[in-house]
């Protein structure tokens, strides 16, 4: 199972309830919507995808299938922008 955590060195601020995140790789600022902002804050520590999906479902009115698809797409985008630490969870 993979875990996801935002890179500690990515500069960001919350402005008007939206995460304004610097893509150091692309040298630009990316503004997340409300859902993206909540995910970004939630992945301060390592999270599995089902934890992220459940967090989104607890905050927004949507169905699980749609949320899972959106979360996967969002995480893929973060990974491409080198904003994300992705690890294989080590089972003890």
């Amino acid at each position: 199972m993979l875990t996801f955590k935002r890179h500690y060195h990515i500069p960001w601020r919350e402005i008007e309830k939206k995460a304004v995140v610097v893509s150091v790789k692309d040298n630009e600022v990316v503004v997340f919507n409300e859902v993206g902002t909540e995910i970004w804050k939630f992945i301060k520590s390592e999270r599995k995808i089902n934890e992220i999906v459940n967090q989104v479902l607890s905050l927004f009115d949507s169905n699980k299938k749609t949320v899972k698809k959106d979360v996967e797409s969002f995480l893929k985008d973060l990974q491409e922008r080198e904003m994300l630490d992705v690890k294989q969870e080590i089972k003890s």
Binding site: R13, I15, E28, V29
Partner: protein, 269 residues
Amino acid sequence: MSSRKLKVNIAGLSVLLEVDTREGYMMLEEWLEDYKNDTDPDFTLHFFHEEERFKLGFEGNLQGSSDEIIQMSVKMGHIDYQNRYAMGPDAAMINKELARFLFSNSLRIVVQYVLPKFGGVLIHASAVADNGKSYVFIGPNDGGKTTIAQNTGRVILSDDCIGLNRFEGGWNACATPWGNIHNYGLYPISGIFFISKSDRLESARVDKLTAVKKLFSNICTSFPSSQKHTSEIMENILSILEQVCCKIPAYNLWFRKDDNVFDEIIRRF
């Protein structure tokens, strides 16, 4: 080795420039005449000429940042222009141009790197001063920054690169020596305008979040450093821009080439 020293202030940063040739010193003095300042320097930049190579050095007390500066100095320290020297009667002139290019770019890179640590940023913009206030115009290359500034008939702080820095509690636009037109001065900012050429004169207020994003994309950045160090600077820059956009109103401004934009700005804002 004897050297000559010149103290200047650019966008609130005091810089001691040290050069080892009379010609280099005279070039800097001529270029930076209006920026001379006698305050204690925040850092020192050395330009030395050695065996047909320019060497750049840096000294400064930046509280925990010396490793970044050392990295930068190492990367920038041996800029080799020897293959680009011209031979023949034009050599002196071309060498002077090359030296000016090197001085100008080195100083700009260092200032844009160091300034955020002192609470300011360099930004691609023109700015004009009027009645003790300044107005900042931001747009793409050939987007009208110079045109709009010239049409105002006011003092142009710069037509290409300005500093944003905080003085006496307010955000100021500061002249910088980069750009074709620049006049030394710093003035509290009344408004920031993101300009676009159009067939009409129109304006619309920009929300804070959009303003931060637009400003960020116009920040002068070419950091010769690692991702970790770049991230720290970006963090500073983001914080500065948020503060600027909290205090200064920003607008989209569409204009026609011959519009007297400034009178319209004064009338509308």
